[in-house]
């Protein structure tokens, strides 16, 4: 795998940790200056491609040399800001980079349809700011820097969601509610970081971990733990804190939903893992207790309850949004096991879920693009009018249920195995129940798409209408990835396992 580390010139590869955040920030400013949406889109596409390449390069570097530590401005940690890349970061960077690239590719026809022409350049600019923020959260090794990047991505996300108002004014209230809850979450997080700073006198995560381990925990660090878990839980849409998510996903522009569903909550969840495992140590008694009594239990409840809520939705995107909340429950369960195999199963599901939801929301976007539909009953007959998009939707939908031959099966298999290792039979039962509920809600969508006949228009059946190729290509890539990674599960499993080992073993 040496070529992964070598394909970029040494001068660029050396600065890859900084460039991966700086390039989207610079191009965000450039995109805002572009005369029209098309040029801005090209800027965004080039940026996403560069980020994807840099993330591959970082993977090669980490595999060869181990943890990379980049000192911003030449100030050495713990005083300076450190960008720290290990296997866990790299897995998330790859995910955000490549899913981001596919989403941007998909964006042009979708955005042209949904956003007013004079706002498109600024729309891409906001997207790039969000992109930079997500990458920044993933790569930084400084606790306060996490807050700043989290807010950079969140504030641009509020704007992106509100841009859905052109189609449906409820996007505005959805965005407003997300803003209130998201800001409360961020403020809780920053209180937690403040308490950690009081307890340790440092903001560098690795340094914090060392000091906490040497001095032991006290009430201040416990309070910090509680605030950070609640704050990041809000951002990651952990079950009781998920109320902002369904409306935000349902009314945002389609491209934004596809991008956010497969990256934003994942990055917040990554930040949570980083704090739980790298800053606090899973061996500490209150952290361990929170795994079993908070994450595992709440995750299990989320799996069942959110899936139940999904079954009764009428809006297709809102249904998938509730399903996302349930999937976060799976990840919480994996994390709550507190073992390397549990965490790696959770991370595997995190990556696989990005593949499924990306494809599902893209397919819904394609339906909306051609026929302007969003309710489940309006999807009737899509199997006949838009067969390619319907196929992609079906593959990803089956993957969501966890049918064999799809990646959904792989990650649920690993979750079940990890649960059995700990002897958690109840978790296996909940997984089965949740999968059955997933079958129920996916079946509702699929039956409308394949079984019902297309609506008639002046006595004639609606004609077949192919989605633009720029929509079809990224959607098919994601849908086929759902099958490909079942047969070649090794790369993703290896990535998830080494990521889990990176945080469990070290620190």
């Amino acid at each position: 795998m040496q070529f992964l580390a070598d394909f970029l010139p040494a001068g660029i590869a050396m600065h890859a940790p900084a460039l991966i955040v700086v390039i989207p920030l610079i191009t965000a400013a450039l995109a805002a200056l572009m005369p029209n949406g098309r040029v801005a889109w090209i800027v965004a596409l080039i940026t996403a491609a560069a980020v994807a390449l840099l993330s591959l390069n970082l993977l090669g570097q980490v595999m060869n040399e181990g943890v990379i530590s980049y000192h911003m401005g030449g100030w050495a940690p713990p005083l300076g800001i450190e960008y720290r890349v290990d296997m866990l970061n790299v897995a998330l960077l790859l995910l955000v980079g490549f899913v981001g690239l596919l989403c941007v590719f998909y964006a042009l026809p979708s955005v042209a349809d949904e956003i007013a022409e004079n706002k498109q350049a600024l729309f891409y600019s906001a997207f790039l700011v969000c992109f930079a923020g997500l990458l920044g959260v993933t790569i930084t090794g400084d606790a306060f820097n996490v807050f700043v990047f989290l807010e950079i991505s969140s504030i641009s996300t509020y704007v992106l969601i509100a841009m859905g108002a052109g189609k449906d004014r409820r996007a505005l209230t959805a965005s407003y509610n997300y803003l209130i809850l998201g800001t409360i979450g961020a403020t809780f997080f920053v209180i937690g970081v403040g308490f950690l700073y009081m307890a340790t006198g440092t903001l560098n995560m690795a340094d914090m971990a060392a000091i906490l381990e040497a001095n032991g925990h006290n009430r201040v660090s416990q309070a910090a733990f509680a605030f950070i878990v609640v704050g990041l839980g809000l951002k990651a849409a952990m079950f009781p804190l998920h109320v902002w998510l369904p409306n935000a996903y349902a009314f945002a522009p389609n491209f934004v939903t596809a991008f956010l569903a497969s990256t934003a909550t994942k990055v917040a969840f990554y930040a949570l893992i980083r704090f739980l495992f790298s800053v606090f140590h899973p061996d500490v008694s209150f952290v361990e207790m929170s795994f079993v009594w908070l994450f595992a239990v709440v995750g299990t409840i989320a799996m069942v309850v959110a899936s139940l809520q999904a079954v009764f939705q009428t809006d297709a995107r809102r249904l998938l949004a509730y399903s996302s909340v349930a999937q976060v429950g799976y990840m919480m369960l994996g994390l709550g096991m507190g073992t390397a195999s549990g965490l790696s199963a959770g991370l595997l599901h995190l990556m696989n879920h990005a593949l499924m939801k990306g494809a599902l929301f893209m397919a819904l976007g394609a339906f909306a693009l051609n026929f302007g539909v969003r309710r489940i009953k309006d999807l009737a007959g899509m199997g006949k009018t838009m067969p390619a998009s319907a196929m992609a939707f079906t593959i990803a939908g089956l993957s969501l249920v966890g049918v064999p031959l799809t990646v959904g099966f792989t990650s649920k298999w690993y979750l079940v195995t990890a649960a059995l290792e700990r002897g958690w039979w109840w978790a296996v039962a909940a997984l089965m129940l949740s999968s059955l509920l997933a079958l129920a809600y996916v079946a509702r969508l699929l039956s409308a798409i394949w079984m019902d006949s297309p609506p008639t228009h002046h006595g004639e059946l609606t004609q077949r209408r192919l989605a633009p190729w720029m929509v079809l290509v990224p959607m098919s890539i994601l849908a086929l990835a759902n099958i490909y990674f079942f047969f070649h599960a090794d790369p993703l499993v290896w990535l998830a396992r080494s990521a889990a080992e990176a945080v469990m073993g070290g620190s």
């Binding site: 005083l79 504030i155 108002a165 505005l172 407003y176 409360i184 403040g194």
Partner: protein, 171 residues
């Protein structure tokens, strides 16, 4: 009990402000008032950070004799840069500190002797304030748009408006 409170008196107003802010966010149905509550909540966190940066008997973290040695000295450079940044948040305190500037030959040597307050929380909070301003601006912009779209900024009325929009569906 009283002793514990007296030792931690700085936290009392912070907690009160924090609870007022959160309560306003939850209790009011007016979207603008909710943003006001959110700002109060955030401000209490700024106060939390600033009070933990205070060192008892500590001077404002500004190097007093930056002109005595053209190059900021060598031992004192860290403080100098901290000072430049902390200055953002401590403008008034800084003017005070400059008045007291004593003629000392070696700025770096002096820096080691004087007890300074911790400038880092101020720098952090400067960033957090900017984040708060941006959030508030986006929030208010959303409220303006909501008012244009719905003609109201009361939560109840908004729910009613959306419900009537959806009354055809089974939800």
């Amino acid at each position: 009990m009283l002793e514990i409170l007296a030792e931690r008196f700085n936290y009392i107003p912070i907690i009160i402000l924090m609870m007022i802010g959160l309560y306003v966010v939850i209790a009011t149905g007016n979207l603008v008032k909710r943003l006001v509550g959110l700002s109060i909540f955030q401000t209490s966190v700024f106060l939390l950070y600033i009070t933990i940066g205070k060192v008892f008997g500590g001077a404002p973290p500004i190097l007093e004799d930056y002109k005595a040695d053209d190059g900021y000295g060598h031992g004192g450079e860290g403080e100098a840069y901290g000072a430049a940044e902390a200055g953002h948040a401590a403008e008034t305190a800084a003017g005070h500190g400059a008045d007291q500037a004593a003629p000392a030959a070696d700025a770096a040597h002096q820096a080691a002797e004087v007890l300074y307050s911790n400038p880092l929380p101020h720098v952090l909070i400067l960033t957090a304030i900017v984040v708060g301003v941006a959030t508030l601006a986006v929030g208010l912009a959303l409220v303006v748009r909501i008012r244009e779209a719905y003609g109201t900024i009361e939560d109840d009325a908004l729910n009613t408006a959306d419900y009537s929009l959806e009354s055809g569906s089974a939800e």
